[in-house]
Subunit: 216 residues, 2 copies
Amino acid sequence: MGRKSIADIRREEFATAAFEVLSVHGMQGTTLQRVADHTGASKASVLHYFSNKQTLIETALRQANATLRKEAVALMNLASTPWERFYGILEANFSPTTFRPEVAHGWISMCAEVPHNPQFQRIQTVIYRRLHSNLVSALKDTGMTEAEAEHGANAVSLLIDGIWLRCGLQIGGLNREDAAAHIEAVVNKLFGDLAERQAAKAKMSALAQALTLNAA
Amino acid sequence: MGRKSIADIRREEFATAAFEVLSVHGMQGTTLQRVADHTGASKASVLHYFSNKQTLIETALRQANATLRKEAVALMNLASTPWERFYGILEANFSPTTFRPEVAHGWISMCAEVPHNPQFQRIQTVIYRRLHSNLVSALKDTGMTEAEAEHGANAVSLLIDGIWLRCGLQIGGLNREDAAAHIEAVVNKLFGDLAERQAAKAKMSALAQALTLNAA
DNA sequence: TAATTTATTGACTAATGGGTCAATCTATCC
DNA sequence: GGATAGATTGACCCATTAGTCAATAAATTA
């Protein structure tokens, strides 16, 4: 495996800075100058590592998404039953480190650009597909039919999208607990009130908390 | 009632043009020049009616929302039972005239700006509150408890948001029928499979279609 | 018809922001 | 130590765009 060169590290720094700036200032407000200031470097230095603003932001989004994915994978590896995998997905989507208004705002900013930017479109598609197939796979393994699993996955992913949107808009001041409760209420209606599911939820919730505490 | 002056009509023209440009080109791409071109007028003329770009776009969004609202009110006036009101709300949110990728993109563009623009924040809040209170009111009148109605309204409004987002992103190529089906599947699980509800759905769906045919 | 208001526009300004470039500065390698 | 490669940056350049302004055209009114 190739080790990280100095240049790679620098690129990462600028990319993370870019995502933070994007989250706070939106797409219009994300200027090369601001990103540079945010790292203490100069605008020209940023452009030394990224040929243009486009690729910088693209890299920033991919990197941010990779972070999310790593967290999700870590959780999934600890899941041993289908329902635990299901709740692993949910917990990852509402992890305290990522489920924050600024981060949500960053993603919404990307969404607004999707129709004008094929690269963003691709990123968005990848994210969506992964979520969907993970959900379907987990639900199917609980014993549902393909169709049931599809319906369930659709419903849950739509809810997640809706909640992230609302989080970014800071409507009704919803926090992580509220978000999880909203979803759980629907999930209960959708899939019935199984004791096995409750246990899986409790386990993955605890694991997620342990992981974030560990990371901090 | 004050009649519309020539100036008012002109303002409306520019505002509708602005929303159309916004829907196609996003917030960044919505320049005064483009809006002017889209109406055949000059940039300076636009600024003659709107002191700045800010108020132009704000007016455009309010106007677009007012159009939606009128459609919703027309449907609601034809509803006579709580479930009919409920489906009136749904139908209005998926009306063929408004539930289009470009329009959805326009709204997402606004959402992305909400954190930087108190006016947009206000518009967004108004829209959300109206939807929520309409849903709660209809559901409560079907005999649910306050809490049940709240939960139901939350679930449905989150789904609607998620679907609009997905529509704007043109993910999975979902069309109106798919969107309605997604929602209906969840609604069936949430509220049970009542014959009365089915009838209400059929009626409001037919009325909505009649209204849009009439408008065309 | 003359006067006054209103509409429209081309030309201009100022600021912003992406991107280039040549000059330095630093570190590594022979 | 000297050379070479990469890092960093200030100074530019150019395109874009919001907003101004004064001049002209059109319409309304007295």
